[in-house]
Symmetry: C2
Subunit: 552 residues, 2 copies
């Protein structure tokens, strides 16, 4: 995930207001006594990356094909030796295929074939996760995020033989190499293209149950690769972009990790890092960077992500029984509850309008999604989950007000948002019906099981229902289907949505996927989307946590 232009205004409004909010709460750093030890813990749990050297499996040609994902497909070409054994001059534009998604560093060797190198050579390397990235022109660049995210690098080779490593860390399956300048007085070839692939994953999860369908096996495999690629020295959101730790991605990655690689040190590192880099007012910042030294994206506060930190921490402690970490970070979780207290009205409804003015309230990349329902549901859910965490840690007395607050919000939600006649939950002044609102009403327990099933079954028939904008919201919809006991529907949804990506050739799951609009981009240029994105890896979690539903 990254900020986009639509949200920039909101974000900077949020910065301003949060400063006021901060000032009104406390002037000094409320975690001053903990911060250094949290950051040190984060450093202590920093994994050593595993490095594996990979070679291309062959050459491919990118061909236009209206039936292929985004209109481009990779067609198998010659073996890699046909690149290595011939002059590069007649091969400009060649695409090498590593056969899998890789994250790391690319190295190549270049040497003369005939004559003496009498001039530098200018080469352009373009690295792509999906075929379209190698095929559509990047300039003039229409995107809302930095043009520099696109992975094209221009290299001047002044001397041969040379073995050159492109300094930038890359994420790709394919690399295209173009010749931008050479001398006619000598000839040369490119050889030994290598990729030093990195991940902090060191374990291999068990296979799925015998008899699991090939499609579920495929989805699981692609999900595992997605998660593995995003597990670097933090849980990154995407190894191509944004290459950093966002709370929302951490939550879903840590869930998937519990049921696969079980690298709990990485989870702990991320919790400590976020805590150590939270605001002086105690409120978490939505995303943080590791280098050159750990730092947060100043001013980037995201309401839903603050709550999800608590949920993620509770899940972690419940899964590991690591109460020490839970206790050390309890002050952070406790503090995020203030957000609920601040916006909860006397009527038990969250003041989502005010919150929306003061915060970036995200939930989904979906224009027009009304946030009232999702926010009310998530708040109830986060309050209850945080109270569960308090109980695990023996800290209920410190948050004694929370069960009543949660119940008040829950009751108000049912009263105000449930449309009994339609059997659906509505959101906002326009009484919008959305997948997001149903999902959060169900996950929070506002909906009874019967109401949940009814709502979820009714949804597909609602003409104007706001569908999930992408895999992130789809996760919560999936979770709601499971929570409601709709096993068949859950399996179908998984196969329809993530299975569709697999059918379209995904090596890793995409940040953005709308089956009806493959060129969708929150950033106004689909090649800058991330095609290996943490928040899309959660089939791993569903398939492995609920074998009865998926592995049969």
């Amino acid at each position: 995930m990254a900020l986009n232009h639509n949200h920039s205004k909101i974000c900077f409004v949020a910065v301003t207001c949060m400063l006021l909010f901060t000032a009104s709460v406390k002037a000094q750093d409320i975690y001053a006594q903990y911060r250094q030890s949290w950051l040190k813990k984060a450093e202590d749990f920093k994994p050593k990356l595993t490095e594996t050297v990979k070679q291309p499996i062959g050459l491919v040609k990118m061909e236009k094909d209206a039936s292929a994902f985004q209109g481009w497909k990779a067609v198998k070409g010659n073996g890699i030796d046909s690149l290595y054994n011939q002059s590069f001059k007649k091969q400009s534009g060649v695409v090498a295929d590593f056969g899998e998604h890789l994250t790391g560093y690319c190295t190549f060797t270049i040497n003369t074939l005939r004559g003496t190198q009498d001039a530098p050579v200018r080469l352009k390397f373009t690295f792509g996760e999906v075929p379209a990235e190698l095929s559509v022109p990047f300039d003039p660049y229409p995107g809302g995020l930095s043009r520099a995210w696109l992975q094209d690098e221009i290299i001047t080779v002044t001397e041969m033989p040379a073995t050159i490593t492109i300094p930038r860390r890359l994420a790709c399956r394919y690399v295209k190499i173009e010749l931008l300048g050479a001398s006619s007085y000598f000839d040369f070839h490119i050889t030994k293209i290598q990729f030093k692939a990195t991940t902090s994953v060191t374990t291999t999860p068990a296979g799925l149950a015998a008899g699991t369908s090939p499609m579920i096996n495929d989805i699981d495999r692609v999900g595992l690769t997605t998660l593995k690629e995003c597990m670097q020295t933090v849980y990154e959101d995407g190894p191509k972009r944004d290459r950093r730790l966002w709370i929302g991605d951490l939550y879903l990655e840590s869930l998937a990790n519990m049921y696969s690689f079980k690298n709990y040190d990485l989870t702990r590192r991320c919790f400590y890092l976020l805590a150590g880099l939270s605001g002086d007012d105690g409120i978490l910042i939505s995303n943080v960077f590791e280098t050159p030294e750990p730092h947060a994206q100043v001013g980037n506060r995201l309401l839903d992500y603050c709550f999800l930190y608590n949920v993620a921490l509770k899940e972690y402690v419940a899964a590991t029984n690591d109460k020490q970490t839970g206790l050390e970070l309890w002050p952070v979780a406790k503090k995020q509850l203030d957000i609920a207290r601040k916006y909860a009205g006397a009527d038990g409804m969250m003041d989502y309008v005010k919150a929306g003015k003061e915060w970036w309230v995200f939930f989904d990349w979906k224009d027009g999604l009304d946030k009232q329902g999702p926010l009310q549901g998530l708040t109830v859910y986060a309050l209850n989950q945080t109270y569960q965490l308090a109980k695990l840690l023996g800290k209920e007395n410190e948050v004694a007000d929370i069960p009543a607050l949660a119940k008040k919000l829950k009751d108000a939600a049912h009263k105000n948002l449930y449309d009994k006649k339609q059997g659906l939950f509505v959101s906002g002044t326009d009484k919008q019906i959305s997948y997001g609102t149903q999902a959060w009403m169900i996950l929070s327990g506002v909906a009874s099981k019967a109401e949940a099933q009814k709502a979820l079954k009714a949804l597909p028939g609602v003409a104007n229902a706001v569908h999930p904008g992408g895999p992130y919201m789809y996760h919560y919809y999936m979770a709601a289907l499971i929570e409601s006991g709709l096993k068949t529907e859950a399996k179908e949804a998984l196969q329809n949505y993530w299975g569709d990506m697999v059918k379209k050739g995904a090596d890793t799951f995409w940040e953005v996927y709308d089956p009806n609009d493959e060129l969708k981009s929150p950033y106004n240029f689909y090649p800058v989307n991330s095609y290996c994105h943490a928040w899309s890896c959660t089939p791993v979690y569903f398939i492995r946590k609920y074998p009865d539903t998926f592995q049969n």
Copy 2:
């Protein structure tokens, strides 16, 4: 100098024929016993480069101006702090001016100004020796040499703060910086642009005589800078392009060095390097490279340059009395004489047609220049100079045939090429009249002093005379004026030609200069010309060797 497309065919013909020639002379390496010690001597004399850190003196704007050199001028802008103290986002395209020509490595610092860097930044740096290089588009590239010679580099900055050194060695006065990609969520600035300038020059030559005209002082200053910039770990032809040791440039640089920096170790290094990398048949190769290990441009033989090696060696021994070097390299000089013996006909005329088929015969970047006269003259000159060298070394007995051969060629030249009626020397079947032919007939002594003066005075009135194509031939024309005792004309020519470059803003003298065609390029694209070129530095030699002519 570099090969260009017009000459490539000739060059490759030459390669083929030279192999036959080689085979007929001797199959094995005739210098096998010397080669290693020559290369070791070359290494022993390799200079340690002096490094000086330079800062820009300010910003400039490149403006179109039909009256400026190549139509572009640099207009003084704000101080460099106006770049450093403000966001770079609104300054894309800014040009920093170092105020002088520099050769070396460029470093800059980049850091955030506001917000947190949430995306990489893509920058384009363009380094230029003259304003037009910063102003005209490079693509689509029409030039005959590698596009990669042009000094534009694209850099992805993934992390700030960063201090980044562009890996490629550069030659420039100006650097343009353009923003190709950034995030709208943070701001940044570029600071501390530095250039680590290198040269092997360590001395400061004496000033010119009091009373020397400002123009001559200026020409001398620009010539010294040109020479200094080209003096790296060899005498390079140009620090931007081709960045290597060519014999023709070495000859002129070593002359200028004798009268200025007096770095004789560098001269020796270059003689040894060329000897150590000559062909197995003993014939020199026109140009050599130092890295990754010393090597020659295989197949690139240039007839006139073989002869000029001998002339340069003789001048060096005469100036330094370093007979040891002379004696060690005498086998090389002696061997080059075979070229004269091979092409000298019974009538005393060089078979320039055959030589032109078998060799690259250069003399000048000038389409249509007939080479008969220049070749005949240079051959006589080289024979006599080599014999002078033999005498200095006590080796006359080894080349006892040379005086007679030189006289034979000289007499034949006068008989066949002097048009008494016109008072001019002619060349080729069309009896072409050129500056080149007059120059070489005079330098060789074919022309008497009276004939020389007459010819040189007549030249400007000859409508179809072939003028020098650039500074390299202009050097020989200047030398002929001086040899003929035409002091006033020599001073005028120097002031007209090199002075014109100074008036047009040259910081260093240009590889190519035609007062009537500033866009002239042997490579079909004038920005790829070198604008700091060794063979153009010889005013330093003339002004300082002949103070009576120039310093008054």
